[in-house]
């Protein structure tokens, strides 16, 4: 697409976004398979919890079985919503990709050209997500439609608005967390172990494995101060009405503080890393 005006910051950003989107669609088979297979883990989680609930003895009163205050329907709804949260906050290959750029010397391109490495990758990741949503929206809609009986009534508009806000903040948080990890590559070069530790912690403390309010008040309070719960648990809890009132606003405040803090951290790591950089890789 040829532009008729002199380029500016925004037209440059649009071009990066457009080209990254085009690049994402080059390998059609891999892209389609990768997008659709993302649904498989959630199916296994639902089967697992189905087994757990079957093993739990039914209350004598004839009420529904509960595990840590969750019915089976609540649990399925929770997992489907965390799947949606993670569709925004997960950044596959981002930190390892940035570390690889540093290790192989390809990062030089971003030092030579008048382009900001963090903004470029941000736009690339937005393109990545847009491509993913455009394909995944069909299966997502189908799954949510088939499982509609597991969800409580649709929350009020203001809650839906806050849910959308937590998804966007989750995207920013996930991006700047992974970018900061990747930039450690300026010091360590190989960060696969660091990514492994992060993935492990994220698996448990983001609420991906189980709802975090199962942890009990003391631990849940500590986890609330960490950034990881905002990647999966928090948006789902907002939608399901598990977090309301002052706790909801406090959560959003903590999340925003983390986003701002991680933006500052990633900028600092990039600035210090470039000074330290020795131009590896020829």
């Amino acid at each position: 697409m040829a532009t008729s005006t002199v380029p500016n910051r925004w037209s440059a950003s649009w071009t990066i976004l457009r080209i990254a989107l085009e690049e994402r669609l080059v390998y059609r088979g891999d892209f389609a398979l990768g997008t659709l297979m993302r649904f498989l883990p959630i199916v296994t989680q639902i089967f697992l919890w189905n087994t757990v609930f079957q093993a739990v003895a039914a209350p004598a009163s004839g009420e529904q079985k509960l595990v840590a205050g969750y019915t089976y329907e609540d649990m399925v709804a929770y997992y489907l919503l965390t799947m949606l949260s993670r569709a925004f906050s997960s950044m596959p290959g981002l930190s390892s990709g940035i570390a690889r750029l540093i290790r192989t010397g390809e990062v030089k391109k971003f030092l030579i050209q008048p382009i900001d490495l963090l903004w470029f990758h941000f736009l690339s990741r937005v393109a990545h997500k847009l491509a993913y949503y455009s394909v995944a929206i069909g299966p997502f809609a189908l799954v949510f439609f088939l499982c509609r009986a597991y969800f409580p009534a649709l929350p009020p508009t203001d809650t839906l608005g806050l849910f959308a806000l937590t998804l966007i903040l989750g995207f920013l948080l996930g991006y700047f967390l992974e970018v900061s990890l990747g930039l450690v590559g300026f010091w360590w070069l190989e960060i696969s172990s660091l990514i492994f530790v992060y993935t492990l912690l994220s698996f448990f403390l983001s609420g991906h494995m189980f709802p975090l309010d199962m942890l009990g008040t003391k631990w849940h309070w500590a986890v609330q101060l960490l950034p990881l719960q905002y990647l999966a648990y928090f948006p789902a809890a907002v939608f399901l009405g598990k977090v309301t009132g002052s706790a909801l606003w406090f959560g959003i405040l903590i999340e925003m503080v983390w986003v701002v803090g991680l933006i500052a951290l990633s900028r600092w790591l990039l600035r210090r890393g470039i000074v330290r950089y020795s131009g590896f890789g020829g």
Binding site: M1, A2, T3, S4, T5, V6, P7, N8, S11, A12, T15, I16, I19, E22, E23, V26, Y27, G105, E106, K108, K109, L111, I112, Q113, P114, I115, I274, V275, R276, Y277, S278, G279, G281, G282
Partner: protein
């Protein structure tokens, strides 16, 4: 030691004093003050006392050494660039020659702002490279023969469009430059083909076009013809010569191919062990560094003497012809001796091949390479 820099800023210039004290980090501490624009009369590239040291991990062979390396590691202090001074004027095409590890690429990385120096100063077009101001980055280009800057899976035209945007090139100017460059390099028909499906030579041409779209004032070329066949090398040489003459851009070229250098550069800078050993014309290298001359002899049938080895080093002896290497200072003496032997039908005195002189210099530089080892707990 503080040094002044003049940075163009509208009708006024700004003096930036850079003081580098910390060898390891080399973080410039800036003091900025305004300065009248008359003070910006300067060369395109000015380098003073530029140094760059690296700390390279030295791992011994074996598992035991690997385990020991978890606690304690040996590092070698590599002085890649050791205080070089260089001035390049606008429109010069300068070759940077030197053996592997001499500091050529490191110097280009310093001048393009990829790395920070350990010590010393440099300014290119009035900018301090490692501050990486966008105003500077829009005025130079670095092409590395072994590095790909294009989008691998997309046609080159997409990368060109991105360059148009990030370098803020006006649409008409972009179209004209792209069309001119693709015609000159004969790759217009390849614009829609993914970069991964181009040959090495075609890819290198696309890399060059991407680097030149914003019409840089300074061009750093790091082995642009490496790995290319003779035809592709020749095409790129021709293109670079035409482009540089038309645009009067300042070019710094590193290459191991003497044909590149001979075809393109009037001025040659030889760097070895991180220091400049020579700065002058290509032909001047032989005068300054070759201690020998080569004598070619042709003898009458059956008159080839046996004593050739007594007057010089025999390089070749296929009767009735022979070639000898002799000390430069003994040319007349040796010629007299040879003529006295009789039977000489033809004689010629030549300089040794340039490649040989430079190879000898490089091999001497490698031999003299200093080593500094230090053990540091990590």
């Amino acid at each position: 030691m503080p040094r002044g820099y003049w940075v163009q800023a509208g009708p006024w210039s700004i003096v930036v004093e850079v003081v580098i004290t910390d060898r390891r980090r080399a973080r410039p501490k800036r003091r900025v003050k305004s300065q009248c624009s008359q003070c910006k009369d300067m060369a395109t590239i000015e380098i003073r006392g530029l140094r760059k040291s690296f700390r390279a991990y030295q791992k011994q062979e074996g598992l035991r050494a690997a385990l020991r390396g978890l606690w304690r590691r040996s590092y070698r202090e590599v002085d890649a660039v050791r205080g070089i001074d260089l001035t390049v004027e606008q429109g010069e095409f300068v070759a940077f020659l030197g053996p592997n590890g001499a500091g050529k690429t490191t110097t280009l990385k310093l001048l393009s702002g990829v790395i920070h120096p350990t010590e010393g100063t440099a300014r290119v077009l009035g900018h301090i490279p490692w501050l990486r101001e966008n105003t500077y980055r829009r005025r130079f280009a670095l092409v590395m023969g072994q590095k790909n800057q294009l989008w691998w899976d997309l046609p080159a035209q997409e990368s060109f469009r991105l360059h148009q945007q990030i370098y803020r090139i006006a649409p008409l100017e972009f179209d004209a430059t792209r069309d001119q460059l693709t015609s000159l390099l004969n790759v217009r028909h390849l614009l829609t083909q993914p970069v991964r499906e181009l040959s090495l030579g075609e890819r290198m041409k696309m890399e060059l076009i991407a680097a030149l779209l914003h019409s840089p004032d300074v061009l750093f070329l790091d082995e642009p013809t490496i790995g290319l066949d003779v035809v592709a090398q020749h095409n790129i040489q021709q293109f670079l010569r035409t482009y540089q003459q038309e645009r009067n851009v300042t070019v710094l070229l590193t290459s191991h191919y003497m044909k590149d250098v001979a075809a393109l550069c009037k001025r040659v800078v030889i760097i070895a062990q991180g220091q400049i050993k020579y700065d002058g014309s290509l032909s001047g290298i032989v005068d300054q560094f070759s201690q020998h001359k080569v004598i070619s002899l042709s003898f009458a049938e059956g008159r080839m003497p046996d004593q050739l080895a007594s007057v010089g080093t025999v390089l070749e002896c296929v009767p009735p012809k022979a070639r000898l290497r002799i000390p430069r200072s003994q040319v007349t003496t040796v010629l007299s001796k040879l003529l006295a032997l009789g039977g000489v039908e033809d004689v010629g005195v030549e300089d040794p091949p340039l490649e040989q002189v430079i190879a000898d210099m490089f091999s001497q530089a490698d031999h003299d390479q200093p080593d500094s080892l230090q053990t540091t707990a990590s």
